[in-house]
Amino acid sequence: MRRKKIAAVSVTLAGIMAAAGVMSGCSLSGGDNGKIRIEMIQYKQEAVGVFEELEKKFNETHDDIELVIDSPNDATTIMKTRFIREDYPDIIGIGGDMNYSNFLDAGLLMDISDYEGLDSIKQAYLDMDKELELVPQEGVYAVPYAANAAGVLYNKDIFDEYGWEIPTTWDEFLALCEDIQAEGLQPFFFGFRDTWTCLAPWNAIAVDLVDSDICSQVNRGEANFTDNYREVAEKTRALLDYAQDDPFAYSYNDACTAFARGEAVMYPIGSYAVPQIQSVNPDINIDSFVMPASEDASVNKLNSGNDLQFSVLAESEHKEAAYEVLDFLLEDENVQFYLDDQNAVPCKEGDFELAPMLDGMKTYIEDGYLADYQDHHYPSEMAVDAMIQTYLLDDSENATDTFLERFDTEWVRYNRDTIRNLEEYMEEHPDAE
């Protein structure tokens, strides 16, 4: 009798734990309806509406595959958390940036060189992904889908009203800012409280002044940032003279709102900001121009990079179905649908209609006179955005020296494993570039 009671104690406690296990087990196995389920996470929070539409359209036209597209807030953190949990989706939609480099380096992505849709992608964008490989890889691991362009957005109505010209050199640009201020208007309204926005002017200026593979050069020990980034740093800082008071108090949303309401005439940011701006003021007449950071107008390039690209996860068990989803997304009609909503630049060859606010950049896009974002090569844990914010907040005389010195020392530390792997690779492949 007593024995039983004792046993009951243990059974009760063990039962609670077992119940926990069973309950969790149940929630894992979802309802099966004979369809292959393809799960996709994409990181463009702004494009959540587009992907809801595309998801619906796909599921209506496909009987054998069920597509689920998730567009969570702070998606890259969620992707990483899920990778930490070893809970992999089938397809991820991310930017062509350091996250891609890391996922690829960790062996998470599938080689999709046998995917036929790749033939229709512009080579320039495929090359950008190649440059992102920390250690050169065989194969293709992403389908570039949409690119964005970053430069300076401007309020066309105000420009027309005062008859201002589009600047093509740095001096003209600063002179324009002076003119705008002289009219009692605000040239820029920055949202530097969100540190990542500090990278927008930085990138746009850097593509004009620095080699696009500067990070690889540094990794190979052939260059340093102190020499190459000084001008970029100084010119980024120069923009602060034309910004509102205390730009570090306001967020990206605040800055978009201010620009939308005509409180600032220009906004050095990417085309991705346009939907946010238009959500505040749908009637605003926006155009853009390429950041003229150099005195030599002919070296000024458009800052453009893979804003959204799709990768299939190596763990995915449904490669064929995943390709079918990619085929669907790459249909001209669906690409155009995305471009219209997001004011993006297509990575696919073809006759697509571009958004009017890209007019000022059109020739650069068509001539392929563009360069990838520098920050796509920065490791996220190095937090270069916050370093730039720190630098812009630093009023001391040697701020630029401090910043550049820190950039060089931290770079080596954060990229130590990459540099070592690269050295090993170079030793194994002495003839590689």
Binding site: A8, G21, T77, T257
Partner: protein, 283 residues
């Protein structure tokens, strides 16, 4: 430092009463701002002080309806309630048993003294060090869900609650159980019929402390539940922050919605909560 009022003969100390009432403004001002901003429309947001402090032009609940939709309010609320209630029940059952078994055995057993120290010293383990391994562990066990969060709370609050229960038991004489034992009751039965009811004040304390800790916790659900579509109330605020954009009115309606359940609970159970907190801290 005015302690004159402690004399039994003293009358009401009006200056201090008035100062304290004025001091309440520091509590009410942020809450007042939350309420009026939650009811205003974006067009009513002005930059002058009088305008910012003024009542909204109409008391419309449209912001709340929209905020509920954006943050999936009812689901988040249900999850928060579910997690908190089960965590409390498990804490009261499991931790009190632990307090009893370990607390009663400590005096004559080195092993139990060691177990006691082992668990209680878990109090010093900051969540930051457990965070990353726990994410991996729960995922591998299929516990990256509400059950996982509840289990983690049961473990994280164990050190503190064990300390509280075993401390409380020191004041409950062994003779109470001896009598029952002589009557032939088993230890298990004695526990539930005599000891468990006697510890009622401590159950209240444990329940209050566990509830306040789990209800408002952000970090555990953040790392365990993010990306699973399951939100608790605070997690929903964090996850939907960017969807509010610069519509602060919508955001504040959502904040207010997140604060209201616990405020109501506090108003109803104020006395028990205050007593519970004091008991927990002082014991």
């Amino acid at each position: 430092m005015n302690t004159k009022g402690n004399k039994q003969t003293a009358r009401t100390n009006w200056p201090i009463t008035i100062l304290l009432i004025i001091g309440c403004l520091t509590i009410f001002f942020p809450l007042y701002m939350t309420i009026i901003i939650a009811f205003k429309q974006p067009s009513e947001m002005t930059n002058d002080i009088a305008g910012a402090l003024a009542f909204p032009s109409s008391w419309s609940f449209s912001n709340f309806a929209q905020a509920m939709e954006v943050t999936d309010f009812w689901n988040s609320l249900a999850n928060s309630v579910l997690i908190t209630v089960i965590a409390i029940v498990l804490a009261v059952i499991i931790h009190s048993l632990a307090g009893y078994a370990i607390g009663r055995s400590m005096a004559h057993s080195k092993v139990y003294s060691f177990i006691y120290l082992y668990i209680v010293s878990g109090m010093f383990v900051p969540f930051a060090i457990l965070m990353m391994p726990v994410v991996k562990l729960t995922a591998q066990m299929g516990l990256a869900n509400r059950v996982g969060v509840i289990l983690l709370y049961t473990v994280f609050y164990m050190p503190m609650n064990l300390l509280l229960y075993s401390g409380y038991l020191k004041n409950i004489p062994l003779a109470l159980e001896e009598a029952a034992r002589v009557d032939g009751a088993t230890t298990w039965k004695t526990y539930w019929s005599i000891i468990f009811p006697v510890m009622k004040p401590m159950h209240a304390t444990v329940a209050v402390l566990t509830a306040l800790g789990t209800w408002n916790d952000v970090m555990t659900p953040l790392v365990i539940l993010s990306g699973t579509d399951v939100n608790t109330l605070p997690l929903a605020q964090l996850n939907f922050q960017t969807q509010f954009g610069t519509n602060y009115n919508l955001a504040f309606a959502s904040y207010l919605l997140a604060l209201i359940p616990i405020l109501i609970f506090y108003l109803v159970c104020q006395k028990q909560i205050l007593n519970g907190v004091v008991n927990g801290a002082v014991k």
